[in-house]
């Protein structure tokens, strides 16, 4: 009996790995699309100096918030990709009917999505921080907040996408559902960057972000799986 349970667990891990790999391959074969949310992120940030004026002090004080709001919007715009194409070609039905827990499969899809859309933000963000005149000391903290925060955005966002995937025009509703839930991440992440720019310690904020990540990892896959079942019924 124990062996059966063990086998089962291994095959679930196998399913996780295969699904992750599948999604990465699919994204790679459509690599032109990967750049889009990234471009959006860059463009939104360049709009701010044009809109509010290029006074260095103003920009510097706004930089943490602006970068994080842009990251939030970029993450939200790319969310639809987690389940949309699978919904349209019927793969999602196959996932729900597999012998493995749907929450694990959801986690695999979210992980792939984050690797493709969240991780690139980490690379680009320091460059944009330079554009906005953020002190170099805060750069590291900015990257760490993005590292801890963007997976939370993908996880929480997955619930919203799972709820709206069956809708023809789910995009705007998705933002209405998901953005209020993003507020805690925004508050703590932008504050951490702000504090770091002022040379203050940021361990409290970072540990809050880490706690959010742990909570989202543990809790978000369940409602997302349940929401997928409802959306497909």
């Amino acid at each position: 009996m124990k062996q059966v349970v063990c086998m089962k667990r291994r095959s679930t891990l196998n399913a996780f790995y295969f699904l992750l790999k599948r999604d990465l391959i699919l994204n790679f074969r459509r690599r032109a699309e990967i750049a889009n949310p990234l471009l959006f992120f860059v463009i939104v940030i360049t709009l701010f100096p044009l809109g509010v004026g290029a006074k260095p002090q103003l920009l510097q004080s706004m930089a943490p918030g602006v970068i994080w709001v842009a990251a939030l919007l970029a993450a939200m715009l790319s969310l639809d990709r987690i389940f949309r194409s699978d919904f349209e070609d019927g793969s999602l039905e196959q996932l729900l009917l597999s012998a493995h827990p749907v929450s694990v499969l959801v986690l695999a899809k979210v992980a792939a999505h984050w690797l493709v859309t969240g991780l690139p933000l980490l690379v680009v963000a320091p460059l944009l921080a330079v554009l906005l005149g953020l002190p170099v000391d805060a750069m590291g903290v900015l990257v760490v907040t993005l590292l801890l925060g963007t997976p939370v955005l993908s996880l929480v966002g997955a619930i919203g996408v799972a709820l709206t995937v069956g809708l023809r025009r789910g995009g705007i509703i998705l933002s209405l559902l998901v953005l209020p839930l993003y507020i805690p991440v925004l508050i703590f992440a932008s504050n951490a960057v702000d504090m770091a720019a002022g040379g203050l310690p940021v361990t409290a904020q970072l540990s809050m972000l880490a706690a959010f990540l742990a909570l989202a990892l543990a809790l978000a896959p369940w409602p997302a799986a349940a929401a997928l079942r409802i959306s497909l019924s």
Binding site: L167, I173, L176, L177, I187, P223
Partner: protein
């Protein structure tokens, strides 16, 4: 005994008939509580030594703010019950509560802003509680929008229930994040929402108003539920009988009470 009552109440036709009998009584009690509360608050209670008469808006503001949170929790609990035990009535309670909760949240925001004008000199201050209340309004609007966007009302109800559950887990996190953000950005301001030692003559009307608001919510949700039931069960025999001729109502009531009640079954 209790389980049996619960089980029977979960059957839409039975619920429809019983709630119809309760409604007038609830309305009378609700009206009495609110009138008593208003009299106590606007006439009996002394004016505040700092704020004068403008403090009296708390008799609307505070109960609305309480209701906004209370209804969200009710909505999430009802949604959870509906999802787990497939009780349609619970799902309907969840979705019927959302617009009422949103209205109370909106009322709390408007009265808070009206109160803020003489206090702060502006209509809006990014005060911790007001901001949380605003985010709560967004959460409500999300639930309402999601419910409205899905055509199949059963599916819509279950989706909205999941969203309400996710929201209820997030409300404390959002609330404390916003409070923390507020203390950082504004410094420790003395807000009027701090718990002052409230005089008993001010407290009693407040509690009366709170009770009245709760009953008002109960009445509103019952009425919404009744129309929701009629709409969802429009193909069933008992609704046809009910709508077909009002004078046969007594007969329907009898039949409903005799018939086997199963909350999970629709009656086409």
């Amino acid at each position: 005994m209790f389980m049996r009552f619960f089980h029977r109440m979960a059957s839409p036709p039975y619920f429809y008939v019983i709630s119809g009998r309760w409604l007038p009584w609830l309305a009378v009690i609700c009206l009495a509580l609110i009138l008593a509360g208003l009299y106590g608050g606007l006439v009996e209670a002394p004016a505040d030594y700092q704020q004068g008469d403008s403090f009296r808006i708390i008799y609307i503001h505070v109960p609305s703010a309480w209701m906004s949170l209370f209804i969200y929790v009710v909505m999430a609990v009802a949604g959870g019950i509906g999802l787990i035990w497939h009780i349609k009535l619970a799902e309907m309670v969840a979705v019927s509560s959302a617009p009422i909760g949103a209205s109370f949240t909106f009322l709390a925001l408007v009265t808070g802003s009206l109160w803020g004008k003489p206090m702060w000199g502006t209509w809006w201050v990014w005060d911790g509680r007001l901001t949380s209340e605003l985010i709560l309004l967004f959460l409500y609007l999300g639930v309402i929008a999601l419910y409205g966007a899905i055509d199949d009302k059963r599916r819509a109800g279950r989706a909205a229930a999941i969203l309400a559950l996710v929201g209820v887990v997030n409300i404390p996190i959002i609330h404390y994040s916003v409070e923390w953000w507020n203390t950082l950005h504004q410094g420790p301001t003395v807000t009027k929402f701090d718990k002052p030692s409230i005089h008993i003559s001010m407290l009693i009307p407040l509690l009366l108003m709170a009770g009245g608001f709760k009953l008002f919510y109960l009445i509103a949700v019952l009425m919404r539920l009744r129309s929701e039931i009629l709409e969802r069960e429009r193909n069933s025999k008992w609704v046809t009988a009910l709508v077909g001729s009002e004078d046969r109502r007594q007969k329907t009531e009898d039949r409903v009470q005799e018939s086997d009640v199963d909350p999970r079954r629709v009656g086409p």
